[in-house]
């Protein structure tokens, strides 16, 4: 009994420590103060300021745009790659798996500067002054995220019944039709989890963004980095943290609900 209490306390104590910085920001978003630790009475002034802050709203729009576009590109490229690699010969498989592995284990700063060197090189060939922009940023994020789509889709391909594709062809389906109506539905859960992982990675990224963007294009990461350089975190970002935390909680509830749903279905 005592052991159980100690064990559980340890879990919740570490959890509390982990969430303490976030809770602190959330608590002090409900008072109109610049400094954390100074409570000026309850107010929603900071939230009002957040919704009037055009710069932050623009930054959020940019962040989401980059995440969605790069994740769509990554998911398509990665899913096709996973299918292709799965049906490749031994040598090609080894080569492509190796390439994927490089991107996964490589340090982000190395990936980032390698892309900078490449883009500068291309710009010098094409004689363009500033090559960095939305396209280079998307390429950077695709390089970062595409391996994770492959890693999520491949296990689903391995679980699939290998005869189904052949059966579809025998029944007169064209290869592209067989791909669309036989393989894709089977591996869809892997594609979805790969896509969601891409979104999270892209929203979270700082280093590759900093090196591949045009300097006037701010995402949440680069914006926060910029303001923390000057001093403390502006209080509007505390209010933003509350919203991000609420979205997180919502996602957690959905996951919890879904897994319970599955368990019930299994029992039934």
């Amino acid at each position: 009994m005592v052991k159980k209490i100690i064990g559980k306390s340890y879990i919740y104590f570490i959890l509390l420590l982990m969430y303490l910085p976030i809770f602190l920001l959330i608590i002090f978003s409900f008072t109109d103060t610049n400094n954390i630790g100074m409570w000026n009475g309850f107010s929603l002034e900071v939230y009002k300021k957040l919704f009037q802050d055009k710069e932050i709203l623009h930054v959020l729009r940019n962040t989401i745009l980059v995440a969605v576009v790069s994740s769509i590109v990554s998911t398509i490229l990665g899913t096709l790659a996973a299918i292709g690699i799965y049906y490749s010969g031994k040598k090609a498989k080894k080569l492509l798996d190796g390439v994927t592995q490089i991107s996964v284990v490589n340090a982000e700063i190395v990936t980032a500067i390698s892309l900078t060197l490449l883009f500068v090189f291309i710009a010098s060939i094409l004689k363009i002054e500033n090559f960095f922009g939305f396209v280079t940023l998307i390429i950077g994020h695709v390089v970062l995220t595409v391996p994770f789509v492959i890693l999520n889709v491949t296990p689903k391909l391995k679980q699939m019944d290998p005869n189904m594709y052949e059966a579809a062809l025998d029944l007169g389906a064209t290869p592209s039709k067989a791909l669309r109506s036989v393989i894709l539905p089977e591996i869809f859960p892997g594609i979805l989890s790969g896509f969601l992982l891409c979104i999270t990675l892209s929203l979270d990224d700082y280093i590759i963004t900093a090196f591949t963007r045009d300097n006037s294009f701010e995402t949440l990461s680069t914006y926060v980095e910029g303001v923390t350089k000057k001093g403390g975190l502006p209080n509007t970002l505390r209010a933003l943290t509350t919203f991000i935390f609420l979205i997180m909680l919502a996602v957690l509830f959905i996951i919890n609900f879904k897994t319970k749903d599955k368990r019930l279905k299994k029992r039934g």
């Binding site: 559980k8 490229l77 340090a107 982000e108 595409v146 403390g232 996602v251």
Partner: protein, 267 residues
């Protein structure tokens, strides 16, 4: 004629990815090698190598990076290992939601999260200006703890419980069982957790910049600083060193993981 001859094969679907990787993964890495071994004018030279090994400042950056990387890895493992163990035991935790709660901070933007940690530390009096090392290591632990808990948790779920029973039956006490049975069985998880923390700690520069108020220089900071100043050749040489270290750890990691598997099978 060519078009009619073309027959679709599923393996062709990986061609776009292959081309993308050649262009945006392989070619850029080759450019790093090229820049690392040339001087400003593009002539082949070893000046970057000489500069790296002749300056004691660079050497101390490497040492500090390794020390902070090790400190972070050890602290994360010491906190995370018991957590993963407790989470994997039905007695202490029955729901997957608790596991998710440990991973959830990763969904908050990484820079915002780090800035939040800085606000907390400032509030309780640990100022990065005064205590840059303490603040940086705390910031690192905050960021990397989830990466340690997750692989450890999944290896512990797969752990063979009969072996622990057997260890007790054969007369081992709790401490002996822990060090001789549980630790070896979870070795692959420990190794993968350590590699997920150690190299990124050394090469990241954002946490040390924000938490240490720019008083700490890690290899990552050095690369970033050199690139900010347009010193691409020397910056590329540092990147090459990181690449070499990563390559080394991948090779070591493979061996240890195999050893861990083998041991798990043997006992």
């Amino acid at each position: 004629m060519l078009l009619t001859k073309f027959r679709f094969k599923r393996k062709y679907l990986s061609i776009p990815y292959l081309l993308f990787s050649i262009f945006f993964v392989i070619a850029p890495l080759l450019l790093i090698v090229y820049y690392a071994f040339t001087d400003k004018n593009g002539h082949f030279s070893f000046t970057n190598l000489q500069e790296f090994f002749s300056s004691s400042g660079n050497f101390s950056v490497l040492v500090v990076s390794i020390l902070i990387g090790e400190a972070n890895t050890i602290i994360c493992l010491l906190i995370g290992y018991p957590i993963a163990m407790l989470l994997a035991k039905k007695k202490y935790n029955k729901s997957y939601v608790t596991v998710l709660l440990f991973i959830m901070p990763m969904w908050i933007n990484f820079v915002l999260r780090t800035a939040a940690t800085r606000e907390l530390l400032r509030w309780i009096g640990i100022d990065g200006g005064k205590y840059p090392y303490v603040a940086t290591i705390i910031g690192m632990v905050y960021n990397y703890l989830p990466f340690v808990i997750l692989p450890l948790y999944s290896t512990m779920l797969k752990m063979d419980k009969n072996q622990i029973e057997a260890s007790y039956d054969l007369g081992a006490n709790k401490v002996q069982t822990f060090f001789k049975t549980i630790i070896p069985m979870t070795m692959p998880g420990i190794v993968s957790a350590a590699t997920m923390v150690f190299m990124p700690t050394m090469s990241s520069y954002v946490i040390s910049d924000i938490m240490g108020e720019r008083n700490i220089t890690l290899i990552g900071n050095l690369i970033n600083l050199n690139f900010e100043q347009g010193l691409w050749n020397i910056g590329s040489f540092y990147a090459l060193i990181i690449l070499a270290l990563i390559g080394l750890s991948v090779v070591l990691f493979k061996d240890v993981e195999k050893a861990g598997d083998a041991r798990g099978g043997l006992w």
